[in-house]
């Protein structure tokens, strides 16, 4: 058995990391196509406000984080529809509100240690409770994603057309919003906000550079997310690099690589056209 599998914490990191990479890449594909690529940042920051609320109100901070994530996600959906051409402002507004609220509320939280332990996850320090939680979450979200695959696909590209052809846009959007906020509030606490908000976007951007259909975009995005997570963990284990940052940089590496492949392909196509 290679050394990397001999440690429980690494087994957990690999398992939870891969599960979340698959989940987040799937959710991210939809979000990027809906032009909400920064939603991961907005929701993970809003969940800080929820943690503070939980600590102040005397209820479980994880519940607080989920609740504010839900409110924030629905607020983004609501504001987005009202703003028309400037719909990307919705994410910025909710992001600002989340940070502002978290900043003010954290001033009332007496012990910053409690606060920190709920805010910042680390992929190399995952408790067994978190491992089970993420496993259950993964099953639920993946089943929902596969069942709603066609509807989500349609909505991602053209919400209006989807509505006209009989897709229950409101309901599908609502379910998807709930799944996203629950995933982000749990994942941000488990592996850290950096990994989650980046893996939602960068692998999808990489996949879109080379994929020729929606389905292959999803598959490539999942591949890039999982490969980056595994690569980052292995490098962190053997080379002592910080896991979060390494995972994110590897995914950016994939993006650059795939852009390069696309350039070569396009160049090849042009040359082919000229010669033909």
């Amino acid at each position: 058995m290679p050394m990397i599998f001999q440690y429980t914490y690494m087994q957990r990191a690999l398992l939870v990391g891969c599960l979340l990479a698959v989940l987040v890449a799937c959710l991210g594909t939809v979000m990027v196509h809906k032009r909400l690529s920064l939603i991961g940042d907005a929701l993970s920051h809003s969940s800080l406000a929820g943690v503070a609320l939980g600590l102040l109100g005397g209820f479980n901070p994880i519940v607080g984080a989920m609740a504010t994530c839900l409110v924030a996600a629905f607020a983004i959906e609501g504001i987005r529809k009202k703003l028309g051409n400037h719909s990307e402002l919705a994410v910025a507004i909710v992001l600002s509100t989340g940070i502002g609220l978290a900043g003010v509320l954290s001033g009332f939280v007496k012990s910053s240690a409690d606060f920190n332990s709920f805010l910042f996850g680390s992929i190399v320090a995952i408790s067994s409770f978190e491992m089970y939680l993420v496993s259950i979450l993964a099953v639920v979200v993946l089943v929902a994603f596969l069942m709603l695959y066609k509807e989500l696909f349609y909505i991602s590209f053209d919400e209006q057309a989807a509505g006209i052809s009989g897709v229950p846009v409101g309901a599908v959007n609502a379910i998807f919003t709930i799944l996203t906020s629950v995933t982000i509030s749990i994942a941000a606490r488990t592996v850290g906000a950096l990994i989650i908000s980046s893996l939602m976007v960068v692998p999808v951007a990489a996949a879109m550079s080379i994929a020729r259909s929606y389905k292959t975009t999803v598959l490539w995005a999942v591949f890039v997310a999982v490969a980056s997570t595994l690569g980052g963990l292995v490098l962190s284990f053997y080379q002592g690099l910080k896991p979060g940052g390494t995972i994110v940089l590897i995914s950016v590496g994939f993006f650059l690589l795939f852009r390069g492949i696309r350039l070569i392909r396009e160049h090849g196509a042009q040359v082919g056209q000229k010669e033909g």
Binding site: Y7, T8, Y9, M10, A13, K110, S111, S112, A113, N116, S117, F120, G121, S122, V124, A125, I126, S127, S128, G192, L233, S236, F237, Y238, Q239, G240, L241, K242, P243, G244
Partner: protein, 340 residues
Amino acid sequence: MPSALLFAILASANANHSQKEKERNRYMLRRFKNTKEKILAGMLAAVMLFPMSLAGCKQSEMWKDAKGKVKVMTTIFPMYDFVRKVGGDHVAVEMMVPAGTEPHAWEPSSKDMRKLEEADLFVYNGCGMELWADDVLKGVANKKLTTLQAAEGIAAEGKQIVADDPHVWLDPMLAAKEMENICDALSKVDPDHAEDYRRNFEAAFSKCEELDAAYKERLASYDGKYIVVAHEAYGYLCSAYGLNQIGIEGVSAESEPDAARMREIIDMVETYGISCIFFEELVSPKVAETIAEETGCKTMALSPLDGISQEEIDAGNDYFSVMYENLDALCDALGGENLG
């Protein structure tokens, strides 16, 4: 109604100015053609005048119970506690960094700055503990403020200096040195009570000696042993009593560990037969718990004292009580090792 209010504000702002300025202001107002623009200009003026109206607040409200006392601003709990011990009834002490807050990255609010403007003495630890202290002192206009870096002169104590570790007070004899510095500073600011300060300091000094003797005696049989701590804050404690620390994180408590560091620590725990992982108030216990679970160790609290919570302070804990608790925890952890 709102525009009337705004003009009232403008008028009151004008009241202090000379006739010429009034005319100029009126001229400025005339340049805005319609009412909407005037309202907007009025609102802008009101927004800009708002902070000025606050500046007029009475500053003496900041130090309410400090009448006739030396007003001392301190940064973190050990400084607060030392000043309290040496100053006794003659000082009013404030702790700037709230209990349970990470002091490195903390920044003072404008309220803190105003308190500092009124204070007589500012005591900070130094050695890189309060990275913001220099900036703060540059921004203070208070000419009568005396500043003391409590860790000043510890090099002359014949102790080994631990690079980049500001937690000087974890060695009781260096804590005594800090108290002596505080005693000198207080005597300079308030010479009338110099004798009392000296007496208080001497009482605290003999308690430091007792504490030091207790540490020496109870830790004597563990010379050269290893402790695993949340972050490398115990350099002075370890060098004074012959222990070695393995920090899950470096001197800075804020970074997340990497997978290789986790493996190293787990391997060291097994090699040295360590039975306890220490966590502390200000660092998330998740990493300590993960390592403990992996290696079958227990976890215990070991406080570097800068992150003590308000509840602990309210419960009457001070430097000595926490240091004795730390000693019990250390003996428990190291003693368990012998059994296992």
